[in-house]
Amino acid sequence: MSQKVNNLSQVEWSKDDVVLDVRDVHISFTTSAGTLNAIRGVNFTLHKGETVAIVGESGSGKSVTVKSVMGIRSSNQRINHGEILYTYEENGEKKTVDLLKFSKREMIANYNGKHIAMVFQDPMTALNPLLTIGAQVIEGMMLHLNMSKEEAWKKGEELLAEVGIPNPALTMKNYPHQLSGGMRQRIVIAIAIACNPDILICDEPTTALDVTIQARILDLIKKIQKDRNISVIYITHDLGVVAKVADYVCVMYAGKIVERGTAYEMYYEPRHPYTWGLLLAMPDLNTTDARLYAIPGTPPNLLRKIVGDAFAPRNRYALNIDYEEEPPVYELSKTHMVSSWLEHKDAPEVEMPMELQKRIDRMKKEVG
């Protein structure tokens, strides 16, 4: 089995090549209704060339997490604790900085686009309808790489060719509305990779697209990642997308990562009841059960103080202690960690739901 795990993750991990280290980040928002604790202690690391997917429902804090990496902050946001360490090479020297220490302006001047770039969900709103594609592609290169307009324009055409635009020279002069959704998303990707970033953040890059286009965009991002050896963070709620791209998966719930592991561990050996629920809620093509398993209820209101495990009220396996004390983090393997009282040595033996076990057995049979 360990053989399989290695096959799955194309990246050999060593301690040196950590690109991004998110350590115990707490973020809250001041609203008219009180303080909203959106992120309550998030930890994860991103290695060179690796893909991490952050999965969760809306409001689980996945977007806030990566936006803090990008330095996109709203005025009512407060960082209460934690650090985001970013390691990069400049002039042959290794540097590590804490991204949370920088102001918005410093982030824009030094890091955004140049080191860390983002692909947004909706390609229509991410592009400026008043500017030509060319003007938007070259903007970052002229700013960060000090290129002349002619140089940048030439590089821009190469970039469009790289992301699979059929007629780059012509497309550079077009406006966003003249392109289809899939083509627009390719432009957004071209803009993101224009300044050779180390980290590419993809915030639901395919949600607004069709299935056939979705698969092609994912393949494109994978290809670019391989060619340029960059690290990618995906934010998504689509577990099918995650299965296709991720080396490493973080499942987020109510501002915390409740389970983390390699893609293999997540899909074949999930341990947290919330992960079980997410996997079961998505029908695969073999689902024939009369009803889908739905996680009951809705995510908790983060304006209120959360006592114990935030998932307990929706969890049919909840123990008494779940309502009183927050579960600690249990390390199941070097890569797999879960935050659930069910892993405690005194906890009753709980098996994953039958339907899920059946599906995993079927998947195992499929791969042989």
């Binding site: 299935v211 056939t212 698969a215 577990l239 997308v241 296709k244 629920g277 079961l280 998505m282």
Partner: protein, 321 residues
Amino acid sequence: MSNAALTKTKIPMEEREVILEVKGLKQYFPVDSHNVVKAVDDVSFQVRRGTTFGLVGESGSGKSTIGRSIIRLYDPTQGSITLAGKEISGKMTHKKKDYLTKHMQMIFQDPMASLNPRKKVIDIVAEGLDANHLCKNRKEREEKVYKILERVGLNHEQANRYPHMFSGGQRQRIGIARAIVMQPELIIADECISALDVSIQAQVVNIMKDLQDELGLTYLFIAHDLAMVKYISDYIGVIHLGHFVEMGTKEEIFSNPVHPYTKSLLSAIPEPNPITERDRQLVVYDKNEMGVDYTKGSKNYLTESHMVLATDEELAAWMQS
């Protein structure tokens, strides 16, 4: 169990009464005086009572347009549509409109945009009842709304709240309640779950399935999520550029797809299995490259329900591969 539930289990699907019959539906939109966009071009299908007909296709294929033409949000260019034996196409008379609004309802994609933010839930749900004067007094109206809200998993106190006080999943339930309160013959669900989270999608789909079993509802389910369409539908129509390229029961479409467009759609469905998913090859379909012309193809029936749009040569070639 009600009568409707019994019918669902007893009578085989092929023998059930046809609720919706669409024949040769065409929906053209003029762009200027010379050009028209043929959004839907000669589409025919039937939906039987208590079944779900799924429409799938990429964006711009015309799947939403079909739904909107049937419920007369658009004026169809040509073709006949009958609902439970009554003609609802052609010129809209007052009587026809009355019949249509009473017996056909729609659930929309975005549950926030489709609920009036200035109205209370009870008034939103009861709007159809009010417009058709279906309640004798206030009490009856209240009772009807409460009963429906309970069915979709909301309680009485929530009836006097406004839409913004609900989460996305709850809002979509209000949308469903609004549709079923009229006891319609047909419900058109246009991408009604694609704006929701995965776990909430499952809740809403379960409610829709339960209601179908209890009340014998008939759905026209429009979506681009093929795994979900397979899960909820009995029959599936695959649309590309305004044409039905393939149609059949869900088993026929998923286990024995013939048209290359259907195959390419199926190959693109992401599956929650990281090992197989990684190396899966996409089947690419380019209509122009393959020289397929939908207007030349004829409807070939492989079985009574399985239809493929193709010329004879194309069909022979596709059947072999």
